[in-house]
Symmetry: C2
Subunit: 387 residues, 2 copies
């Protein structure tokens, strides 16, 4: 059985390129009973619950539900107007994406010319989706420094190498390292000569600076930096990857130009319903509660993982994280494949084997934070695996 | 009241560019009670019903429904493998789109260079989404000939003008004119020297050549013509525009190249569920039944519209159609705006005012076929408007 799961997993993994096979694809082959919890996908499961309850109400309203399935959804700008109220950003600076990855794709294809600086390890579409002709310069985060970014060094490398485009993910995926907003704004100010700075804040809601409800995003500062493009996924903080919702904030000229030649009906009826729901203050209040609850659970989970790491410091190392996922490195012959396959086959836990992540040397797995109960199950499983 | 509806409609129309405002956007302003039936959107409402019933089952299965919302859907190639069985087309020649319009967009942006021949009137994204640098040549269908395409003339114009790319929509939108498959294949053979022939068959299921169940598509011939790209929407025949599903069939090199730099997770959980459902033979059987039922209803509806046209030949002209929509031209001072606004304000009927369609000179509205009951209501409303 274990051998079969191993074989299946390795086959699927090799077919999925630099991403994990989707849970649906995985389940089709290994069967529902094998998998207990998905620690690969990086979302707040409590938030999924509050949106699902809104969906239940929609489905009960036969006329509206029928229209959600049957009719063309509102156009991009109409949906941007719902979001404009929530973010307090002008509608003309917002473009809605079929997932954040569509924003990444459109911006890389249309605006990145000549060269780009990518900080490694990173989310792979940032280099995979580039046109052939673009020169890529990599800036390496070092595990010896817990993957912390040295911004002074980054700025001087950008200047020395004549860099035109830069990608910042904050908190960074897959390292979970975080830069305070002040430092990010400082980078924006220092790098005004760049064509584009792409700041991806898809995990910003999971960062924590001592106050659970603080808004750490740079979203309301983008207007001051015409070369900055903010990318945001809704899949993670709202736990709705299946709905495909994301957005970009950028200068009006770019939004106009992109919408002139595409992206008119790129949001589904459910996606449009999500953005409309988001514009209701009572929904935001509910969301904030589950966000704080999830953050508290996550912080505790990571503390416990670090404890396990300290107990088994000859077998694994657990890195600090300021997001909702954490890197664990296998040491002394414990490979990432060993950890991934054993967690799956013996405990039904799906984690992200990072052995395909360029710029991440060593045997890393990435583990998401889930509900308290699921996290406890994970801690016990990992403990028993290391005994 | 009527004045207010008129004013609202005209404002929304001007904001929606060359497309109609979505029904959701329209309803937000004019209110649910004003609108009875949507004759603007071109879908088979019976098909929506059979998919909705599948959706009901999905929603009852809590685990699967939760996963549809929460988890990342399968990747593009995994979904293409479901469709491959249905179409009997190799998976490697299929790319799945977030609506057919995403296929149009990706193909125009990536593969259309130098120039393109567009047959007018047409679906506007075919010229709107083109890069700035592309020279557009228009080939005009003439209302005097009931908008029938003269293929000999088209071929010689393509040759005379050194055309590299051609768009064919069959049946054509908004004219409803149809070319038999044999004639389309002849065009493919004659125009092998073109870089790309885009054949959009989004309405092919509504065409009728004397046998209700005949497959009139060229889909199984695309492999013989490496320069042909087939575009297909699922929104029309399956009545699911809100789910955003479409696909493209093209040579393997193009599919590989497109997927290398994007479109990995462009389908939602519901979209993936739709394609999976489509691969079930029992679902296809159900669909075929409602397709035939809808075709019969549609043919009768159009016959009745043509009768009304003949009765009021000083006021309107109704053009023949071989799709699920039909063009009506207002004559002698009856404008398309007059028809649109009066149908909406007095009868709650939403139709497509074609006054923004380039290459359609005159006062045209486009009317979709709906259920028998809705069609009858439409016929009575139009009759009373013309009295």
């Amino acid at each position: 059985m274990k051998e079969k799961i191993k074989e299946t997993y390795l086959k699927l993994k090799s077919e999925s390129g630099s991403h994990s096979p989707s849970i649906e694809t995985l389940l089709e082959i290994i069967g529902e009973s094998t998998l207990k919890h998905d620690f690969c996908f990086l979302s707040n499961p409590l938030a999924t619950g509050i949106f699902k309850s809104e969906l239940d109400d929609l489905i009960k309203d036969k006329l509206k539900w029928n229209r959600t399935v049957e009719a063309y959804p509102p156009q991009n700008r109409a949906i941007a107007s719902y979001l404009s109220q929530v973010l307090k950003v002008n509608q003309e600076n917002i473009i809605i994406g079929n997932g954040a990855v569509e924003i990444i794709q459109m911006v890389l294809h249309k605006y990145v010319k000549e060269n780009i600086m990518i900080i490694l390890p990173t989310f792979s579409p940032y280099y995979e989706y580039l046109n052939d002709t673009i020169r890529i310069e990599y800036f390496h985060l070092k595990k010896e420094n817990d993957f912390q970014l040295n911004t002074g060094e980054l700025i001087s490398q950008c200047r020395d190498k004549g860099i035109k485009n830069l990608v910042l993910i904050n908190p960074n995926n897959p390292t979970g390292t975080y830069m305070p907003r002040k430092e990010v704004l400082n980078l924006f100010s220092e790098l005004k000569e760049l064509d584009n700075i792409i700041i991806d804040e898809s995990f910003i809601d999971f960062a924590y600076e001592g106050e659970f409800e603080a808004n750490l995003s740079t979203v309301n500062h983008i207007k001051d930096y015409p070369n900055v493009i903010l990318v945001k996924s809704m899949s993670k903080d709202f736990g709705i990857a299946g709905i495909r919702c994301g957005y970009g904030i950028m200068n009006k000229e770019k939004v106009d130009e992109l919408l002139e030649t595409g992206y008119l009906w790129n949001i589904s009826g459910l996606g449009s319903f999500f953005f409309k729901t988001l514009s209701r203050p009572d929904f935001i209040e509910k969301y904030k509660k589950v966000k704080v609850e999830y953050l508290k659970t996550t912080i505790k989970f990571f503390e416990n993982l670090i404890k396990i790491g300290n107990t088994h410091s000859n077998k694994i190392r657990v890195y600090p994280s300021n997001a909702n996922f954490i890197l664990i490195e296998g040491l002394n012959g414990i490979t990432s494949e060993y950890l991934t396959i054993n967690l799956l086959a013996e405990h039904g836990l799906y984690v992200r084997d990072c052995n395909d992540k360029i710029g991440l040397e060593g045997d890393f797995i990435r583990v998401a934070a889930r509900t308290q109960k699921e996290n406890e199950y994970f801690l016990n499983s990992l403990n028993s695996l290391l005994l």
